[in-house]
């Protein structure tokens, strides 16, 4: 029961309190780049959730079954990058074959995620905080999925705000990217309000 409670805590922490974009400032490139309209944001968010969950599982296995037994934990970053890149490629191929509709909606965003620092970030964070704990595989999976959800949430919020900003009366010099940065900063400040929650 205590384990279940800690898993729930990890989930809420990574989705809201320690949001990957707004608290840890990871994955800012797609956050500004793909937040022009909410449809693209949802597509990108789904792809990130999917890839982050898969990454968490695979990197846990690589770390525990390959790196630890041979005492080469210091290679974790390069091994994780290798795994993530191969995994995304594989997933893309399988998706294109088995579910063309899903591929059409996610396909263009998947290659973007291959080298996204947020995905590597979730793997490294898992390694630093969760490996070695009891039920660490499940916790890693929860943290990965949660990080993806948090990213999708932040991206969707940003996209909907930016859609409204398109029509708003903004000073000429702030139009476009500058107002997006200001918005992102205000959003991050707002999310800081959650920091006392857990």
């Amino acid at each position: 029961m205590a384990e279940l409670g800690s898993i729930l805590k990890i989930f809420i922490a990574v989705v809201i309190v320690n949001n990957f974009v707004l608290f840890r400032f990871l994955g800012l490139c797609p956050y500004i780049g793909v937040s022009r309209n909410s449809e693209a944001a949802i597509g990108m968010g789904m792809a990130v959730i999917f890839v982050m969950a898969m990454t968490s599982a695979v990197t846990w296995m690589i770390y525990n079954y390959l790196l630890v037994p041979f005492h080469i934990e210091y290679l974790n970053i390069i091994a994780f990058i290798l795994a993530i890149a191969a995994l995304v490629q594989l997933v893309e191929m399988i998706m294109q074959k088995t579910s063309p509709a899903l591929y059409e909606s996610l396909g263009i965003y998947l290659p973007l995620i291959t080298t996204n620092c947020a995905v590597l970030g979730v793997a490294i964070l898992n390694k630093d905080t969760l490996f070695g704990h009891s039920l660490s595989f499940i916790k890693c999976l929860v943290q990965g999925t949660g990080a993806g959800l948090g990213f999708a949430l932040a991206l969707f919020l940003m996209a909907t705000i930016r859609e409204r900003l398109e029509l708003a009366d903004i000073p000429e010099s702030l139009k476009g990217i500058p107002i997006a940065f200001i918005t992102a900063a205000l959003l991050a400040l707002a999310f800081l309000g959650f920091s006392g929650m857990l």
Partner: protein, 277 residues
């Protein structure tokens, strides 16, 4: 201890890379998605200009639409009848191609400086902006204002500014992508068959007297060309003579009888552009 770390590092990473590489190679065979060969065949006969005149975002998308969704084969303007014929052959469709080859844009106004101005427009030098201010600075509501929106819209260097200051289409460069047609607020530019050589260079649908007041180079609907034409290729439409290019035999009788000299042939336009008045 130290050497074993080096060995295991190389071995594990090498093995990981090898396994991922091989499994990706195998997966690419297993999960290979065969693309429709018709898409590539159609794409190869399209001009690859990505002008968007077919309504699709680029030639590739149009090729997909034709091959997979049965889209019409004749939407590619730049490709003209050649591309239509080739696509139809690939798709196994029989079509009748009208004689005359490709279409080109043509600017139906030779007013230029002969057209009277009723005000001095000093705003943004753009036809669409100028047309917003009480329908443009000209007295003629149908004439070319010479702010060259069509010239700016043309991506293929097919519009030049002639000595009279009027924009003029260079037929050999024109791909009929319709960009200039859409950019003109007065709808002066229309598509004509490339083979056509006789034109009524006026767009004014006003009555004869109004046209004469506004411009010395306008069709005054005197109907002389209609009567002179031996093959009945000219008819009057809202006070404007229109030549049916499919019927025209290019006998040039209309050019001779036109009192305001707005009916011209391509050759004369090339030699002496809008200067006969």
């Amino acid at each position: 201890m130290f050497s074993s770390v080096i060995f295991w590092s190389i071995f594990i990473l090498g093995a990981l890379g090898l396994i991922f590489g091989i499994s990706l190679a195998i997966a690419s065979y297993i999960f290979e998605v065969k693309s429709d060969p018709k898409v590539n065949a159609v794409f190869s006969v399209l001009p690859d200009l990505n002008c968007g005149s077919c309504g699709y975002p680029g030639c590739k998308k149009y090729a997909e639409a034709v091959a997979k969704n049965g889209e019409k084969v004749n939407l590619c303007m730049p490709g003209g009848s050649d591309a239509v014929a080739k696509i139809a052959e690939i798709m196994g469709i029989e079509i009748n191609i009208a004689p005359g080859g490709k279409n080109v844009a043509f600017i139906f106004c030779c007013g230029g400086t002969s057209s009277k101005k009723v005000m001095n427009y000093q705003g943004i030098p753009d036809c669409n902006a100028a047309a917003l201010v009480s329908n443009g600075p000209l007295q003629c509501d149908y004439g070319c204002m010479m702010y060259y929106s069509c010239y700016k819209a043309c991506k293929f260097n097919a519009i030049k500014i002639n000595s009279d200051g009027l924009p003029e289409v260079i037929p050999d460069n024109c791909t009929a992508c319709m960009a200039c047609v859409k950019s003109c607020p007065k709808n002066i530019i229309k598509l004509i068959p490339h083979s056509a050589s006789v034109f009524v260079l006026c767009n004014s649908k006003d009555r004869g007297k109004d046209v004469m007041d506004a411009c010395t180079r306008g069709c005054i609907s005197c109907m002389r060309c209609v009567k002179a034409c031996p093959v009945n290729a000219i008819h009057m439409d809202e006070g404007l003579a229109i030549i049916d290019q499919n019927k025209c035999q290019q006998c040039l009788k209309c050019v001779e009888v036109c009192p305001v000299k707005v009916i011209r042939t391509t050759k004369k336009i090339e030699v002496d552009v809008c200067q006969q008045n």
